[in-house]
Amino acid sequence: MTNDKRLHKIPGHTDVEWDDKHSDEFRGNVEETGIGFMGYDWDSKEEQFKVYLHYDQLYYWKYAEVSKLGKGFVDGEFWGTKCPKCGDKFFPPRVNCWNLDDNLEKTEWIQLKEEGIVHTFTVAGWSGKSSLKRLPFILAYVIVDGCKTAIANELRGIEPWEADFGMPVKVVWKPKKERQGTVTDWHFEPADGWKPGPMNEEKERIKELCQPVIEWVKTMK
């Protein structure tokens, strides 16, 4: 069994030593304050009581057998995987083939061209707390370099109403010092030479829907 090539390697207990550390570079030394009560409210008429609870935590996400992806992002490289049996290509990478006929065949790492085609997209006018100031933005699902999957990321470099289905895009990296080994290290932009199509009724409609969002974001601190 131990010779089964499909098994993923697990380093020994003392093998991983992190000789290249960057943990405090981005937000400083994040302090875990743990659970704490921060105040209370009282409604005397309805006799309702409420407390404020704060809790924050730091996670250690180990990429393990997908580490090549994270290091690749830091180095400005796109690494996907390919099944040696059926040839299916994956980005995001799958380290075992998804095809049941291939019985968990271990995939091989391949470097991908940093280009793709927009499969579908949307123009976001609302998002999670950490993304509100970026609104409005285009989130596109892009098939990178002929993969069998599409990956979601932001499409920048054009007005939100200018995107199109099937448009070719390229990958644009953050400056190397700002990269963290995550999908936020890069975004999509239109491929060189691509020009937006003429405005039409639908694009005008999206533009109109975006205006209050643009105004709202200006009022945010």
Binding site: Y55, W126, S127, K129, A150, I151, A152, P212
Partner: protein
Amino acid sequence: MSRKVCIAGGVATPFDYPMHITPEAMAANCIVETQHEIPDFTLKDLQFMVYSHFSVHFGKQLCPEWIVHDHLGLVGLPHVRIENGGNTGGSALFGAFMAVKSGLFDVVGVYGWETMDNVTQSQGSEFIALASDTRYEALAGGIYPIYYAAMAYKFMKDNDLTEEDFALAAMKNRNYAADNPGAQFYRSDYTNPKSPYYKKTLTVEDVMESRLISYPLKKLDCCLMSRGGAFALVTTEEWAKKHAPDTYVEIAGAGLSSCTIRAGDRIDFPGWNKLYGKGYPDMTEFGACRKSGEDAYDMAGIEYKKAAKEIDVAEIHDAFSSSETQIYKALHWCDKENIKEFVREKQTFLDGEVPTNVGGGLMGYGHPVGATGIMSALECSYHLNDTAPKKHLSSKTYVKDANTGLVNSHAGTGTSISNFILRRP
């Protein structure tokens, strides 16, 4: 395996944001109210409890079902919690169905709840986004309405639909919710003088004019964040006949299926390619809905192409107006050729072929995730046992002479979906 499984009865709390009642008190309320309809039923009848709760983040409490179970005095009774994203309620119901169908238990309680009003709306969106693939999607600024919008936009294009076509479902479900006193839209908007929708019958224009969430979805195309609970009593036919002859309905079909976590991974998935042809469901439809729907239809003896005719009333997972519309197609109620007519002829309105979400749905009644699928099953059963006029404010939202109902519960970007066929005994 021939024993029949029934929903003997059950009750949902009102859903609202915010609402001031604890999860355990909501459970107690639901059980007390169930006893009003099934006077014989006591907590001592329960043999197994299935708890339905999605996110422990909202309560900052792991294993919150232990608090509820303990509070109800059920210590000693076996219990499990089922968590399956937006399909948590449907999955818990599926679990209870299996428990009774297998012969292991005769009387099973299912209680679901969520307390999403414990955090701000945008923080809540971010919590829910943790059920998407956080490694690749949530970080890129994605939250569920954005993923759904990307799927809806492609579905709209591929099927030649418009924003207005989606808006019909948004308008319909909220207007029906205005006739349902437990519904969040009724509580927080329709009867709230401070709401722009106070005593207002919504129009497609209202939906079109609401703020952009993610094109083509606007605020009124999206469901609500809620606090709420729901309880259903799942039993053998024998128990139901004896103790709940006036309220019980049969679970004649049940299906549960799954799909990829990331919507972008289902444009060429080997399993779906084999089952439904290359490329299905793409990023436009829900393979897990089609599969679980077909499994439920098979169990209930319903021919796929006749499903719309056979189903008299449905409660489906309208997290977004677009997903309701996508579900019509996944469940074989219409196809690419006639979806436009199906939608524009209002076939899912009260006077149409398949009255859908007449209880208000997720957009009108609300979506406290763990309670939602159970609420949907109960709302559907109210037409099969003729209690709808009593449960709702009037008979306007009562589907008379309904014999067959469909209940749909849906998670992720279509990642887990269940469907049930309910029948009047």
